[in-house]
Amino acid sequence: MKHLRSVNSKAKRVARAADPRNDVVALQGPPTPAAAPHIPLGCTLIFSPGWEADHNGGTAGLCTPVERDIFDCHEGCFWPAQVPDQLNHAPDWTAKCASAQKDWRKIDLVFP
């Protein structure tokens, strides 16, 4: 803060919280340009050594199985899966599927 002097203890805390450098979860202001590339979990935009492990050697964030990955197929990132257009045509497509990992069988077919 250059133009406001924090006078009481609360002001110091407010100033600290309002400092964009402390805004780690981007709750306060517009997103600051990310310093590092965003690496989505559960998808392989970068070279992947294969399906056995991700690029860090872990297995928890792999694309498979399908119930883990299904929403990424039409929202988060590109994946060549055929899913309905949930924005316009089939907004209720996943209405019965509260938790993908549990309820993915309840997702029905969509007819034009």
């Binding site: 803060m1 250059k2 133009h3 406001l4 002097r5 924090s6 006078v7 009481n8 203890s9 609360k10 002001a11 805390r13 407010v14 100033a15 309002a18 400092d19 964009p20 306060q28 202001g29």
Partner: protein, 485 residues
């Protein structure tokens, strides 16, 4: 293009500089020239960021204005129109909130008959004469209360036990035995108990004074000032004033009891409204370390009630004495006007209260039969009962009370800049005035705002001219001061 507008704050000047008190965060910021200019411009009407920079370009470079706007936006002194304000959610206190202070009404009897008394006068809640409550607390109930206090203190290491009445010293034997029992139980449970009491001083005897001094009992004396003021309302049942009885006893107490500072607690009425004179008498002639003032709690119809114009007069007098306080604080001298000091401490920490006080939360009052009430002023009232010392706190009743009395539910307060500190004011005052504890005390809003403004100015002045003075408020974590009224 989005327009900028002022958000909620109170602005004031001190030491020739501009300050803002932000609401509801309770943060105090000093403005430099550019931030003061931005706020001043926005006072005249809403304007876009670009226009603002252009309009102020003669005074400040555009980048500086832009930087200032960003800072003011971040601390929420200003905001963009159309962008909803980020309202803090209604946060309830955590469950099983630890009890910090228990006020034990060891008796509801009193040897004085003060005209304005909320326990005996026209405004009383509990029938203390013919009611079903015992007139004196038994040793057993006092012991059960101590157990209750230590149990409800939870993880707190220190519990505060305040003895209260009626006239506290009318039940000195129980006070004494409760203290020794509390010491013993505290040692067994690895806690500490801090003791204090409030008394009218009529029953102070050398051996009692000795006991209080030896045991480091904090003492607050209810006294209204010099003889003519004290004797106006603080009288015996035959109408005789109490000044000549209490003054020598208090002097004796002050001479012997040096282990803790001893304070006076003054009830102000329309007929005894001369604060400087009272203060001077109590500190210089009697020798009190500090003096706290509170206007009498009563319905507006009584002749001693402070009417609206009286609040203005009271504010003027508070301000005059506060000016003396500031003068002393600038020179690092002690000044015993405790109303200022208490408020400065709250401003320093930046408290933004969900509730006006700790009643029903960290502070509870226990009546002579062991019923637990919101605070000592409600002790014995069935309508304000939270449980008993034997069965503990009825959590559902407590949560219901806290839900209902939260500042977010006081619509009248929602536009007031003083709400972080006031939060609607005393439940007992509201009950006496309006018959409803949840009502904000609208009869003294102007007074609260005037007084808060005065204390903010003193705080800001000290932050510029003697910042070292404010460091004394840094590390204290004892949020629940002992009740004195």
């Amino acid at each position: 293009m989005s327009q900028l507008a002022l958000r909620e704050f109170h602005s004031f000047q001190a030491a020739g500089k501009d300050f803002v008190y932000l609401v509801p965060s309770a943060a105090v910021f000093e403005l430099d020239d550019s931030s003061a200019a931005v706020i001043n411009r926005l006072r005249a009407g809403n304007v876009s960021r670009e226009d603002l920079a252009r309009q102020l370009s003669a005074l400040f470079p555009a980048t500086e204005v832009d930087e200032t706007i960003s800072e003011l936006l971040r601390v929420r002194a200003i905001g963009e129109i159309g962008v909803p304000e980020k309202k803090a959610p209604k946060v309830m206190p955590p469950e099983n909130f630890p009890l910090t202070t228990m006020v034990l009404n060891v008796t509801n009897q009193c040897n004085l008959s003060c005209t304005y008394c909320y326990e005996y006068g026209e405004d009383k809640i509990v029938d203390t004469e013919n009611g079903k409550k015992p007139k004196f607390m038994s040793e057993e109930t006092a012991r059960e209360s101590v157990d209750f206090m230590l149990r409800e203190a939870g993880a707190n290491k220190v519990a505060h036990l305040t003895f209260f009445g009626g006239e506290t010293l009318m039940n000195f034997p129980v006070l004494k035995s409760a203290m020794s029992y509390a010491r013993q139980r505290a040692a067994e449970t690895g806690k500490q108990v801090d003791f204090s009491l409030t008394t009218n001083a009529t029953l102070l005897r050398p051996e009692i004074i000795e006991f209080l001094a030896e045991n480091r009992v904090g003492v607050t004396i209810s006294i209204d000032g010099p003889k003519e003021m004290q004797d106006q309302f603080r009288v015996f049942s035959n109408g005789k004033g109490s000044y000549d009885i209490v003054a020598p006893k208090i002097k004796e107490l002050l001479k012997r009891h040096r282990s803790r500072p001893i304070g006076a607690r003054v009830t102000l009425t329309s007929q005894t409204l001369d604060i400087r004179k009272i203060y001077k008498h109590l500190t210089e002639e009697i020798g009190f370390w500090d003096v706290g003032f509170a206007p009498v709690t009563t319905s507006p119809s009584t002749k001693y009630a402070i009417a609206e114009s009286g609040f203005d007069a009271m504010l003027e007098q508070f301000r005059a004495l506060a000016a003396d306080f500031l003068e002393a604080a600038l020179e690092n001298r002690h000044h015993g006007f405790s109303n200022v000091k208490d408020t400065l401490e709250e401003i320093h920490k930046g408290v933004s209260k969900a509730y006006p006080c700790g009643a029903g939360l960290g502070l509870m009052g226990v009546s002579t039969d062991g019923d637990v009430a919101l605070c000592h002023r409600f002790a014995g009232s069935d309508a304000h009962k939270l449980g008993t010392v034997r069965d503990g706190i009825d959590r559902l009743v407590q949560i219901g009370f806290l839900e209902k009395h939260h500042i977010d539910d006081k619509t009248d307060c929602s536009q007031c800049w003083a709400r972080p500190l006031c939060s609607g004011g005393c439940y007992h005052e509201a009950h006496t005035r309006y018959g409803e504890t949840a009502r904000p005390n609208l009869h003294y809003c102007e007074w609260i705002r005037g007084w808060t403004d005065t204390c903010l100015k003193i705080y800001a002045e000290l932050s510029v001219s003697n910042p070292k003075y404010l460091e004394q408020f840094d590390e204290k974590v004892d949020y629940e001061a002992s009740p004195v009224s």
